[in-house]
């Protein structure tokens, strides 16, 4: 029987279907977009220490300290299907024991509406750059990369790597002064 409630029900169901179609449209208009932008990374200071790693192999391991600058314009990434960006700086290197090591040094969340022009100076890494051995000393090729996770309104959650890597070499000698 057609009553006020049955009309309200069919109206509501139809609206929800249309809303789902709109959301899919929002996804499909942004699904094939390239979300990589150039990133400029500059490393101002590098040092290593040889300290006890109580979480790891119970020996003295290499702990790296990297101070770096980042400048990038993230404006082209934002569109109507982006809620936030999760930026993270990762270091990649190879040692004798592992062909590929990846360590996340730093991260930052950029919300929609935040300032999108990044110009960060003298950032210290947020997380410990520990090697599981002594692979950092005199390592000539440690690549820093800024990548990001795009958090969308609808659809897939892409991981994008910024174009622009920075390759650094670690020093031969350990820093001994206790400057925590």
């Amino acid at each position: 029987m057609n009553t006020v409630l049955s009309r309200a029900n069919s109206l509501f169901a139809f609206s929800l279907s249309v809303m789902a179609a709109l959301t899919f449209g929002c996804f499909i208009t942004t699904a094939f977009k390239d979300r990589s932008v150039p990133v400029d990374i500059h490393v101002s200071k590098v040092m290593i220490k040889n300290v006890d790693d109580f979480t790891g192999p119970r020996e003295r391991s290499d702990l790296g300290f990297v101070t770096f600058d980042i400048s990038a314009d993230l404006q082209p990434i934002f569109d109507w299907n982006v809620k936030e960006l999760f930026l993270y700086m990762s270091a990649e290197y190879s040692t004798k024991s592992n062909a590929l090591n990846q360590v996340v040094l730093w991260d930052k969340i950029i919300l929609r509406g935040d300032k999108t022009k990044l110009n960060l100076r003298d950032i210290k890494s947020k997380y410990f750059f520990f090697d599981d051995g002594n692979g950092l000393r005199a390592n000539k090729n440690i690549t820093l990369t800024l990548s990001w996770n795009v958090v969308p309104n609808a659809g897939i959650l892409p991981l994008v790597e910024g174009s622009g890597h920075k390759s650094i070499a670690f020093p031969e000698t350990y820093e001994t002064a206790k400057t925590y």
Binding site: N2, T3, V4, R7, A8, S10, L11, F12, F14, S15, V18, M19, A21, L22, G25, C26, T29, F78, D79, W80, N81, N153
Partner: protein, 102 residues
């Protein structure tokens, strides 16, 4: 209290029901298309949703209450038969039953 609610007329005739359905589908689809284009243009999906919800509210207002426009084609019922006094008031089925028993 309940009888007050029951006395509110909510009925639409059949043509009115069809018209109401066509109206709400049309209003919601048009607002969805407008919202999508506007949201795509200013790159804010929130506005798409708001415009769509405005269409929802408008169509609720237009089609939920039984406005007179939905009641223009009432069904034509047969006129009530004139009541005659006496035995003829009994229903025909009851007469049949009585015959069977005899």
């Amino acid at each position: 209290m309940l009888s007050v609610f029951k006395s509110i007329p909510t009925h639409m005739d059949y043509k009115g029901q069809k018209l109401a359905e066509q109206i709400f589908q049309g209003v919601i689809l048009v607002s969805a298309v407008i919202g999508f284009i506007y949201g795509l243009f200013i790159q804010q999906f929130g506005w798409t949703v708001y415009i769509m919800l405005a269409g929802f509210a408008l169509s609720c207002l237009l089609t939920l209450p039984p406005w007179p426009v939905y009641r223009k084609n009432p069904l034509t019922w047969q006129p009530p038969l004139p009541e005659t006094p006496g035995e003829n008031r009994e229903k025909p089925q009851e007469n049949l039953k009585k015959k069977k028993h005899k």
